[in-house]
Structure formats: structure tokens, C-alpha cells
């Protein structure tokens, strides 16, 4: 398999903005917390052509920030991203249209004042994929591809339901004929019955267009369903990377194990309907991450070594890796 998208030791730091109000407060002696937050730290990743890579983790683990950097929407503070060997972003300007994103909230990601036909055709026209005269037919075709009536091209977003809007957002992304599609929690705001429809559509389109996909979600069962390979993130770092079937069957990092155990699982066999085990403790603040392995305060297997030395994410083959001293 060839690598299509690679990230080499990328990190992203967010420094707080000092506003006028902050300066005035400081004049009066207020203490300001100016520590930067490391949203993503030292991530190295290679996405293979045609695969679906799932990114999972709890809120604040950096999965969306990593997704935005891979999409070229956000520049890494350190490290480099390459799409087919070239950086997707140069000097603050995105130079490629080969990566498209579908966002979580279809209410916020579509322009409410624009007809959905214009929303779908704007990018392809701007980048010369189609001419203005082809636009109407093109928009209709894409609506049909995502399972909507082509006659809806001149409707506005408010005339659609949440699931239909997410279909439009998918049509907009795919109309650019991207090589890589980044889906950032695309079904998180949808009801289960609608979520199933969108996941099915996604599976169809992925096959039809041979897409490489990065699928970001906090929902472990959704990620398992669509992904070939899964990266588990904790406090800005990838802690385990593994083929989906293997990761869910035999997680090697204690965090992955604990995360999988903490989801209430429906099982229709046996007597007990649902089982789950909570992880102890809380997510530490990313402002002051724990020393050594960031998971050690909540880990049952933690030893002195875990508190002092950070385990490296070691590739044991081309495919899987785990960052733990006691794997």
C-alpha cells in the first residue's frame, strides 16, 4: 500500500490571546494564566491510500485538532504534513483541494442564506472543475448521489432535516472529488435511525469513489463499524494504533482497554443485558499534563517507570503501535 497522507512529528500549540481587558486586569494586579495548551503533541502518522482511519478519544484529546491539521485547515506548530509528498499548506495558504472535510454540525456548516445547489457548486466552479453553465445539472446529480431529490437544488438549508443536511454536507465535500475525506464527528448530532442511514451512505460512497477517509468520533462503536485502522488518542498523543478488528478484540494499551470497558454494551446473549466498567479518575488538564505516561494517574498497571519516563509509540510492524511500558 502506498502512503497518501503523512504527518511527521506534528504538534499544535494554542497560546491564549491577550485582550485589552486582560491588560487592564493585569494593571490592577490580576494574575493571568498564559500557559499555552498543547492540543496535539508529537504525532507521527501515515495514512494508506484507500483506508479508513478512525480517530477516537474523549473530549480534549486533540482528535479534532489533528483532523484539522491533516485537512490543511490549521498549520502545525511543529512538524510537517505531506499529501502525496507535498505540504498541503504553504505560508498560511491552502494549496490543495484534494482534502475535504465533513463537519459535525450540519446546522452550522451550511450557509443558511445560500441555496444548497450553490453550496455544492461553489468549490467546483472556483477550482475550474465545472463551468457555471454546468452548475445546475451538477448540483442535481450530487443530490441524487447522496439520496436526495435533485429538484431540491434551489432550496435553503432550513428546509431540510438534520440528516438531510448532513447528506448535503457530504455532497459538497465529495463534489470536489477529493482524494482524502476527513469526517469530524459526522453523525454525533443525529438520531440513531438517521445515523444508520448516514453511515450506510458513507459506506456506499467510500466504495464508489475509492476514498481515503479519516473518521473522527468519540463513539467507539461507530468508529469500529467504518474503520480499517484505529488511532486512540489521549491528551494530545496517539497511545495506540491498530487494525480495527485487532484493537477491539485485544486492546494493548490500558487506556484503550479501559475506554472500551466503560461503554455500556448491549448484549442480547446470556442473562445480563448490559455491562460496563468505569475508568477511575478524571481527564487531567492539558495545561499541566502528568509527567511520564499521561495516563499513569488513572492506570491500574502504572509503576514508577510510568511516572518518570514517557513510553514511545513504537511501531511493531507497518500497521500497529502502542505507547506503553507494560503492553
Amino acid at each position: 500500500m502506498s502512503k497518501i497522507l503523512t504527518a511527521e512529528n506534528i504538534s499544535r500549540r494554542f497560546s491564549p490571546h491577550v485582550t485589552l481587558g486582560d491588560r487592564i486586569a493585569r494593571l490592577f494586579g490580576a494574575k493571568l494564566d498564559r500557559r499555552p495548551v498543547m492540543a496535539v503533541t508529537d504525532v507521527t502518522l501515515a495514512v494508506q491510500r484507500g483506508e479508513t482511519l478512525g480517530l477516537v478519544g474523549e473530549s480534549g484529546c486533540g482528535k479534532s485538532t489533528l483532523g484539522r491539521m491533516l485537512a490543511g485547515n490549521l498549520e502545525p506548530s511543529e512538524g510537517a504534513i505531506r499529501l502525496n509528498g507535498a505540504p498541503p499548506m504553504q505560508a498560511g495558504r491552502k494549496t490543495t483541494t484534494h482534502i475535504q472535510t465533513v463537519f459535525q454540525d450540519p446546522f452550522a456548516s451550511l450557509n443558511p442564506r445560500r441555496r444548497v445547489g450553490e453550496t455544492i457548486t461553489e468549490g467546483p466552479i472556483a477550482h475550474g472543475l465545472i463551468t457555471r453553465s454546468e452548475a445546475a445539472g451538477f448540483a442535481g446529480e450530487w443530490l441524487a448521489k447522496v439520496g436526495l431529490d435533485p429538484a431540491y437544488v434551489s432550496r435553503f438549508p432550513h428546509q431540510f432535516s438534520g440528516g438531510q443536511r448532513q447528506r448535503i454536507a457530504i455532497a459538497r465535500a465529495l463534489a470536489m472529488r477529493p482524494e482524502v475525506l476527513i469526517c469530524d464527528e459526522p453523525v454525533a448530532s443525529l438520531d440513531v435511525s438517521i445515523q444508520a442511514q448516514i453511515l450506510n451512505l458513507f459506506l456506499d460512497l467510500r466504495q464508489e469513489f475509492g476514498l481515503t477517509t479519516i473518521f473522527i468520533s468519540h463513539d467507539l462503536s461507530v468508529v469500529r463499524h467504518v474503520s480499517d485502522r484505529v488511532a486512540v488518542m489521549y491528551l494530545g498523543r496517539i497511545v495506540e494504533l491498530e487494525a480495527a478488528a485487532k484493537l477491539y478484540a485485544a486492546p494493548r494499551h490500558p487506556y484503550t482497554q479501559a475506554l472500551l470497558d466503560s461503554v455500556p454494551k448491549l448484549s442480547l446473549e446470556g442473562n445480563i443485558g448490559v455491562s460496563f466498567k468505569p475508568i477511575s479518575g478524571e481527564l487531567p488538564s492539558p495545561l499541566s499534563p502528568p509527567s511520564g505516561c499521561a495516563f499513569h494517574p488513572r492506570c491500574l498497571k502504572a509503576t514508577d517507570l510510568c511516572m518518570t519516563e514517557r513510553p514511545k509509540l513504537e511501531l511493531d510492524d507497518e500497521y500497529g503501535a502502542v505507547a506503553c511500558h507494560h503492553k
Binding site: 474523549e58 440528516g163 438517521i194 453511515l199 450506510n200 463499524h225 478488528a245 466503560s262 455500556p264
Partner: protein
């Protein structure tokens, strides 16, 4: 035999809007025994939250209870004057909401808010109220509870804030707690902690719990019985294990089949076609008929009947169920 703790009969909550009457809750009946945990499951617009608000008398206009009765320990709550309702609310019936950041007052310390909640129902002096507050915080697993009374809500994480909200609900040892999606805004690991704690708290204190959620798995991990709602009506009800293992209603079956966890990875999910119709034009028969593969003319015209059993479905053509 004592009457049931809560007896809801044909509850109808309507919202009058310019576009017409929205029947958010359209004839719901159930009973709840002391110490029992009942799950209310449904997708958006199913009326699950409005049911909760109707029970505790927190409906805002244009919402109103159009018909039905809510008997709480033999006392009728529908039409009860606000002053009477206020004596019950927080004391004998408490509610936990989805967003703990919105339910706590940001400019008061946790201790001040909790003391107010204690004293609203005659909880004695300040020091007694604070002591009770600290005990309640300790019960929900907040470390160093007495010191945390002086903290403001923003000093707590999301999971801790929800614990505070639960501690407030537990202050007066209510007979009934209504929890409206209390773990939806939380991460899975925190959600698991809260679910485990709620289960033990309910068992220890004998408090009955109505747990409202869109997630079948979460409800099933807690509840003894479950009610599946769709467009303001009950589709199916029964003990959790029976409903999950042998659903009688095509909608419940469809919901279970839609879950990715129930399918083989990468395979197509069995989806329910269509989307929830507008609550303004619900068909006269079964509300699920337009999306149901088994629907016939009878389903479209006649509301389905239901027997008086432990596990039942409002359906003309129920699935075979347990073999």
C-alpha cells in the same frame, strides 16, 4: 396494597403554535413503583423530555397539559397550584438536567446554592444546611466535599458539575428523581462513573428514578423497565431484558438494528427508512406507519390497541417476540 408511587394516566401535553397544535405527548400511561428505575427512550421529538417536564410541573407556555392525570402517592399533580407544586419539587420529586453548566448558578458557590436548596424546604440554620450539603456531595463521590463547598461551578469539570447537580437532587432524599439525559454531555469514561454511581444510589436510598435518554444501551444498563416513545406515543414497554431480546414493535426492532454495535463491522446497517415526520401532521393511526415495512391500511387509520401485560407493544402486527 399501597398505591403505586407514580401513576400516569393518558397524559397529553400540547403546544399551541401559530402553525397548529403540536401534540408533544399524546396519551402516555405508566406506573412506577417505589425504588424502581424506569427508562424513557426515544429519538428527538419523541416527547421524552416533555413527559419529564410535565410530571414535575415545569412546562413553559405555550405548553400545557391538555388532559390526563399524574397521581403521585395518591395526590393529583395535574392542576395543582404552583405554590403546592413548589413544596413537592426538590423535596419529594427532584430533577436532573442534561447540561450541568446551565443548571448551576455561576455566581454563587456550590455551598450557597446547596444551602438555598436545603432551606427552601425548611432545612434549619446555615451550618446545618452546609453540613447536609457536604454529606450529599460526599455521597456522589466528590473528594474533599467540605472544602469544595466554597468553590464556584466553573472550578469543577463537567463530570463533577453533574455530580453536584445529582447531589442537589439527593439533598432531601426525594421519592422520585427525574433525570433528563444527564450523561449526554459527558465523555464515555465519566458517563460510566455516573451511571455506576446512580445505580448504587438508587439501590441504597430506595429512590425511584425516571431516566430519559436517546441511547438504548445507557437506559438498559440502569433501568428495570423501559418505555420506547415515538412522536409522543408509547410504542413498546416492558422489562429491559424482554424488550431488548424480543422486541415486539417494528420501531424498537429498527432502533436496535440501527446500532453499529449490533452489526458486523463494515456491513450495511439495517436502517429505518425516512425520517421522523413533523409533529403537526401525525397520521390518525399508528404514528410509525409511514416508516414501517409492515404497515397496512389498518395501521394508517386505527390507533393500535394494547393489552394489559408486562411487556407489550402498541402495534397491529407485533413481531413474534420470544420464541
Amino acid at each position: 396494597m399501597n398505591p403505586a408511587l407514580l401513576q400516569v394516566r393518558d397524559l397529553r401535553t400540547y403546544f399551541e403554535t401559530r402553525a397548529g397544535t403540536i401534540k408533544a405527548v399524546d396519551g402516555i400511561s405508566f406506573t412506577l413503583e417505589r425504588g424502581e428505575i424506569l427508562g424513557l427512550v426515544g429519538e428527538s421529538g419523541s416527547g421524552k423530555s416533555v413527559t419529564g417536564f410535565s410530571l414535575i410541573g415545569l412546562l413553559d407556555p405555550p405548553g400545557r397539559i391538555a388532559a390526563g392525570s399524574v397521581m403521585f402517592q395518591g395526590k393529583e399533580l395535574v392542576g395543582l397550584p404552583q405554590a403546592e407544586m413548589r413544596k413537592l419539587r426538590g423535596k419529594r420529586i427532584a430533577m436532573i438536567f442534561q447540561d450541568p453548566a446551565a443548571t448551576l448558578n455561576p455566581v454563587l458557590t456550590i455551598g450557597q446554592q446547596m444551602a438555598m436548596a436545603v432551606q427552601a424546604h425548611g432545612g434549619g440554620g446555615d451550618s446545618a444546611a452546609l453540613a447536609l450539603a457536604a454529606r450529599s456531595l460526599a455521597r456522589v463521590g466528590i473528594p474533599d466535599a467540605a472544602a469544595r463547598l466554597h468553590a464556584y461551578p466553573h472550578e469543577f469539570s463537567g463530570g463533577m458539575r453533574q455530580r453536584v447537580a445529582i447531589a442537589i437532587a439527593l439533598l432531601h432524599e426525594p421519592e422520585l428523581i427525574i433525570a433528563d439525559e444527564p450523561t449526554t454531555a459527558l465523555d464515555v469514561s465519566i458517563q460510566a462513573q455516573i451511571l455506576a454511581e446512580m445505580k448504587t444510589l438508587a439501590q441504597e436510598s430506595g429512590t425511584a428514578l425516571i431516566w430519559i435518554s436517546h441511547d438504548l444501551a445507557i437506559v438498559s444498563s440502569l433501568a428495570d423497565r423501559v418505555i420506547v416513545l415515538y412522536l409522543g406515543r408509547i410504542m413498546e414497554f416492558g422489562p429491559v431484558a424482554d424488550v431488548l431480546r424480543a422486541p415486539l414493535h417494528p420501531y424498537t426492532r429498527g432502533l436496535l438494528d440501527s446500532l453499529p454495535a449490533m452489526a458486523d463491522p463494515g456491513q450495511k446497517l439495517r436502517q429505518i427508512p425516512g425520517s421522523t415526520p413533523s409533529p403537526l401532521n401525525v397520521t390518525p393511526g399508528c404514528p410509525f406507519a409511514p416508516r414501517c415495512s409492515q404497515a397496512d391500511d389498518l395501521c394508517r387509520s386505527e390507533p393500535p390497541p394494547v393489552g394489559d401485560q408486562r411487556h407489550g407493544a402498541f402495534c397491529h402486527h407485533p413481531l413474534p417476540g420470544a420464541a
